[in-house]
Amino acid sequence: MKLLVVDDSHFIRNRISRAVAVHKIDSVITAPNGMEALRLFQKEEPDLVTMDITMPGLDGIACTSAMVRLNPKVLILVVSAVADKATAIRALKQGANGFLLKPFSDEEINDSLTELLRGGGHG
């Protein structure tokens, strides 16, 4: 399985890439913004995505919506510092499958991705 990590922070992209220890994930690619994420999404066809919300240009919610339109089966975990309920609900309504709040531990990112794989996508 292929994971696409989308975050404008290089530090966070590296952290998630290093932390991922879900045995089904054998390849990780990264994008620093929404536009690059969409380009890679179409080119690389990842099965899973971790998505930041606050990014310059295309934000994570719009990017989630675009990805789900392109591939309704993709699994998207929003990983964001934005902690209000309304934003989480908006992300889920746009097609995200889960929400992990920053700051997170390595264990939490792996647990969330494992949970996502167990739960399935939009079908």
Binding site: D8, S9, H10, F11, I12, N14, R15, R18, T54, M55, P56, S80, A81, V82, A83, D84, K85, A86, T87, L101, K102, P103, F104, S105
Partner: protein, 148 residues
């Protein structure tokens, strides 16, 4: 901002450092700076606040502390770009977490980061800013909250 609002950001700062680093990170007694007083260390990440509240939140830290944070997280690329990235991420995470209490009308910008002396003229500040000192190991940093 009143005392309760500041407490939200103090709690958020403690939460961030305890979750990201370890429980030895401590927050000192917050204090006020007035008028155009600004503080800065080697790297600074500024978040603009808009919506129902207006102003800025910034995190400023010495490079030695940021290097140590990067090493703690297993980062091998420890350079100026990454240190700037970390100050932005800290400011963004603490501000973003505050929306749990302040709600979605507490609108945060993407971080603007500075190495060296920040250009604060580009941001809106309140007449009074609260400085939340942060101590971790031998390092001293600060989160500054300047919101109307």
């Amino acid at each position: 901002m009143d005392e309760q609002d500041i407490q939200v950001l103090i709690d958020g700062t403690v939460h961030y450092f305890h979750r990201s680093l370890d429980k030895t990170a401590a927050v000192g007694t917050p204090y006020l700076i007035e008028d155009k007083q600004r503080i800065s260390s080697d790297y600074t990440g500024v978040i603009g606040i808009s919506g129902v509240r207006k102003g800025s939140v910034y995190f400023t830290a010495p490079s030695a502390m940021l290097r140590h944070i990067l090493m703690t997280h297993g980062e091998s690329q420890i350079d100026s770009d990454f240190m700037a990235d970390v100050v932005g991420e800290v400011a963004n995470t603490i501000s973003g977490n505050a929306r749990k209490v302040f709600g979605q009308e507490f609108i945060i910008s993407v971080p603007t980061v500075f190495a060296g002396k920040p250009d604060y003229t580009r941001f809106r500040f309140s007449d009074r800013s609260f400085v939340i000192p942060i101590h971790w190991r031998q390092y001293h940093a600060a989160l500054v909250v300047s919101i109307d």
